[in-house]
């Protein structure tokens, strides 16, 4: 069973693979924010929101 991490943007519980490594980018399935894995140890996995350039998408 992979581990879970809570998305800082929307509190979704995200399944994280067992072999996740620091620096990996995972995307929150609910809100689409990109999260960078910053710490992996036996207590759990820590992430922070990765910088993404705001795409101008509307009028």
């Amino acid at each position: 069973m992979g581990r879970q991490v809570s998305c800082p943007e929307c509190y979704a519980q995200i399944e994280v693979a067992d072999d996740v490594i620091v620096g990996e980018i995972i995307e929150c399935p609910d809100c689409g924010v990109e999260l960078e894995v910053v710490e992996v140890n036996d207590e759990g996995v820590k992430v922070r929101v990765a910088e993404v350039e705001e795409e101008d998408w509307g009028e």
């Binding site: 929307c10 509190y11 809100c31 993404v52 998408w57």
Partner: protein, 357 residues
């Protein structure tokens, strides 16, 4: 083994009738015993609904209640408001399960029919027996119901976007604005100057900005959820689209109440919708479909719900998009039928839309 459900559709010529036929043909446990239409009796259904050519050889019949009584277990009534009343009453007396897509049994209070629909309801006692057909709010009652009143196509997304907010937060219940944008199929199959293509294309036409009838059922359902009175300020516009409704709901927090940020709204909507099969929460950081848009739900039974919070005005904007013919009518009706017949609610309805469309 699941028994075949013998189904009748009364009023099969209209767009809702046609959508019922399309979805029922995809349903693994349904046999369409009869489909009626006064105007098109004797015709193949695909004459009115070209998308059904080669998929069915069904023909429209005249309405003959005794024949329907023998051949059907469940009957959908897709006839105009006012016309459905007697029909539903008789089908109910015959012991059939009835799902009515008109407004004739949606409102609990008979007086409301005088105010909003301008007619005296002939069977007020039946109003207590009928159940408002929104599974996300009345699933258990629908299980036991004999008459289910299918919600209005704009009422459904508005109620779904609003009820978690009014239940969980302290909002101003008399300043809730629901600004709807709707496609032309909601106007039905009848032709008029305003539905004439050169006049109907490229419009943003405010056609009912006060006194919209769906207000009555939205207020009924939200007051029931909270046990408090609420006033909905609704306005409807016709836009250049065939299928689809977007309800943009503007809700204001009351003076003393506050929310830190949008994560509170995520938690609230997940609490009510995470196990609802046909609700999708759409609030994306990337891509071009970041908030609900009818284009993403056309042809499906999904209701997409999204939200944003503006602290400056202490306003929550909740948005909900449905296909007015599917989750706004026929798909919802079949979801109700599945519940009434004790089979998996999603049977025959977990369909992808088209992209692009």
């Amino acid at each position: 083994m699941i028994e075949t459900i013998r189904v009748g559709v009364i009023g099969g010529r209209g767009y809702v009738g046609g959508e019922l036929l399309r979805l029922l043909l995809l349903h693994p446990y349904v046999e369409i015993s009869c489909v009626t239409s006064r105007k098109a009796a004797g015709e193949f259904v695909y004459r009115e609904h070209p998308n059904l050519r080669k998929l069915t050889s069904l023909k429209f019949e005249d309405v003959n209640l005794s024949r329907i009584g023998d051949k059907c277990d469940v009957v959908f009534t897709a006839v105009p408001h006012g016309a459905a009343m007697d029909l539903v009453h008789e089908l109910y007396e015959m012991g059939l399960k009835v799902i009515d897509l008109s407004a004739d049994f949606r409102l609990k209070n008979p007086e409301a029919y005088k105010i909003w629909y301008g007619f005296e309801h002939k069977y007020p006692d039946l109003l207590e027996k009928s159940v408002y057909g929104l599974p996300e709010l009345h699933r258990d009652e629908i299980k036991r119901a004999k008459i289910v009143a299918n919600p209005g196509c704009m009422a459904c997304p508005s109620i779904l976007a609003l009820f978690p907010l009014v239940k969980e937060l302290d909002v101003d219940l008399f300043r809730i604005v629901v600004d709807c944008k709707e496609g032309s199929s909601a106007g039905g199959v009848e032709v008029s100057r305003s539905s004439h293509h050169p006049e109907r294309s490229n419009v943003v036409r405010p056609y009912k900005v006060t006194g919209h009838r769906h207000t009555a059922e939205i207020e009924q359902e939200l007051s029931a959820v909270m046990g408090k009175d609420v006033k909905i300020s609704m306005s409807a516009h016709a836009v250049d689209m065939v299928r689809g409704v977007l309800a943009t709901c503007h809700v204001f927090l009351r003076e003393n109440s506050t929310i830190e940020d949008e994560r509170v709204l995520w938690r609230i909507y997940r609490k009510y919708f995470s196990n609802e099969p046909f609700i999708r929460l759409v609030k994306e950081k990337k891509g071009i479909y970041r908030l609900p848009d009818p284009k993403a739900v056309v042809g499906t039974n999904f209701c997409d719900i999204g939200f944003e919070y503006e602290d400056r005005t202490r306003r929550i904007v909740a948005l909900a998009a449905v296909d007015n013919l599917v989750k706004g009518a026929a798909g919802q009706a079949i979801q109700n039928m599945n519940i009434m017949c004790g089979i998996d609610e999603t049977t025959g309805l977990m369909l992808p839309g088209l992209h692009p469309i």
